[in-house]
Symmetry: C2
Subunit: 348 residues, 2 copies
């Protein structure tokens, strides 16, 4: 089988994008595409372009040793438009893909939304591991993607590379999603598990920051914003909602003490930050709530960084998908899976 | 989007096939195909053919009221070959599909294997809800399918319509399956759950037979053969094995007492019939074993007819898929999903 040759515009070169770049090389004999980065744009290391293709290995090494790639981009959106115009052949052949992994902005999802829109308008497919675009502007961006006949994929936005959006789209044809219930934020699940062992909140959080699991600014996780953004993505993409993270009825885990966590265990329960959605009085409502979950519940048996999503359907009843191991590779894999989806569509 | 018009050869018209026929009508506005049955062959009700398409509703009514469709088929395999030859246009356009739902023969998988081979050789795609062909002759049948460029799909063989084979094929590109562990036989799980409440083995089994969950001859379930056949299907399809159900290290649940089941619960465990596979000393080995599973294990929290499969992968670690509700509709849905896969490939 002849491989599809993708050209990449890489926006953001943090941990996820760098691991994805290496994973693509590791899995190159197993995936139906090859790729060539023609532009890399970073927030802290400047940007670099080459229509002949960048030496991505050298780029990664320079960024990881703290070096700079070049001057800052003078405006990412016009640059995307310019690149799309310049790579006319790749655009015509639908081989141009923009990989968006910039940081989630929980206020309004920008500038990632503008990046995605500019790329789609320019004729590039978009693969995003950033929750913002689908959480804040799903229906607008899907409309652009459909008009331009390009893919807008974001498997990594919800449960790392564990298939959730792909599961529904590819394997559940004709099935309607009526709601869901899940534990989809690893940091809070890890902290709640640590509290059950008597560790204090601050100690657990500090340990996770040291291990690179939690962010330096943990408020997105701890206050439930990350789970709310994922809830909005799932509602928009699977249930036809038009919500943003600010529409989710949200609480965090900030006030939980080891005593409370251990008391729940003694009652045969666990405290878990549960994301859910469903129809209430004819209206879709999403929630992120600290809940007491029975230990035998699939959400109750999760420990540490494990995630789970239980999807309520009309035809098949409830289906669950479990992530039993989590890490950077899992998140990076979502980008590989989305690139494969694009390559399969082009190759068929 | 224009729908693909499939022509169906229907082998077997038991509960699953009849529910599938109705489900296709119920979901007709949501699936990318229409279909027309040109032949129905049953074991007990004779057979019926019409190149113009049968009135499937009338066929179902006649079978369900105990009536006959016509004389017995004079030999199903030559009839399949004859039909394929006669429907040359549908074969050329790759629109002919054989739906195989005859009963599992645990001795050698026949005659279903011959049905599948004849249909593939004749140029029909095959959708099977019967475990036999993939459990006993996977590599042979896949070779025929590849040579004839036809689909051989059997999602319903393992976890009803809950995606397992589709999950790996469609959503986990580039990922290698190293092993699995699961509870994939509903009848035994139901009986073991009933034993925990003090019900006797015979009473639980009789109740399930009355409810239509267990077969009149329960030995396939109780002795672990159904789980062994599913284990063979998963090993062959996902791990490149060439095993049959007879190669699986198998035990059943025949000797379990309510006291043993309740003692396990008191220890914080559950007795479960666990199917598993993995590499042992360089060799793939499948097992079906009565195991003591921790209550917090995803396999331990399953009750009644719930199923779960934990898949061990190289890239993503362990992933689980849970079936929380089971029934005839779920099994029938597998056929809808497989027909959709065929229609999508034809439509793309």
């Amino acid at each position: 089988v002849r491989k599809v040759e993708l050209e990449l515009i890489v926006l953001g070169l943090g941990n996820v994008a760098r691991r994805a770049a290496r994973l693509i090389v590791e899995l190159q004999d197993r995936v139906p595409f090859t790729c060539r980065a023609i532009s890399v744009v970073t927030a802290r290391h400047g940007h670099m372009q080459s229509d002949d293709g960048l030496d991505l290995r050298a780029v990664l090494q320079r960024v990881e040793s703290g070096g700079r790639l070049g001057a800052d981009a003078m405006g990412t959106v016009p640059m995307i438009a310019d690149l799309c115009a310049r790579r006319a052949m790749a655009v015509r052949e639908r081989r141009l893909v923009c990989i968006e992994t910039t940081v989630l902005n929980i206020t309004d999802g920008e500038p990632a939304i503008s990046h995605v829109r500019a790329a789609l308008e320019g004729g590039a497919h978009v693969v995003s591991a950033n929750k913002g675009p689908a959480a804040f502007a799903y229906s607008d961006l899907v409309a652009v993607a459909e008009r331009r006949q390009r893919a807008f994929l974001f498997e990594g936005a919800v449960m790392d590379g564990i298939p959730v959006l792909n599961l529904v789209r590819e394997t559940l044809p004709g099935v309607r999603i009526e709601g869901f219930r899940g534990v989809i934020n690893s940091t809070t699940n890890h902290i709640l598990t640590a509290l059950e062992t008597g560790e204090t909140f601050d100690a657990a959080l500090a340990r996770m920051q040291a291990e690179g699991i939690a962010e330096a600014d943990p408020s997105l996780d701890v206050d439930g914003w990350d789970a709310a953004a994922k809830t909005a993505v799932l509602m928009n993409a699977l249930m036809g909602a038009r919500v943003t993270p600010h529409d989710i009825d949200r609480e965090g885990i900030g006030g939980v003490t080891p005593d409370e966590a251990r008391a729940a265990v003694e009652r045969g329960e666990r405290l878990r930050l549960v994301a859910s959605a469903g129809r209430e009085g004819g209206r879709l409502q999403g929630r992120v709530r600290l809940e007491r979950v029975a230990a035998a519940d699939p959400l109750g048996s999760l420990t540490g960084q494990q995630n789970a999503l239980l999807i309520r359907t009309d035809v098949l009843g409830e289906i669950g998908i479990l992530q039993r191991d989590a890490g950077l590779t899992q998140t990076a894999y979502a980008i590989v899976a989305d690139l494969t989806t694009i390559a399969r569509r082009l190759g068929s």
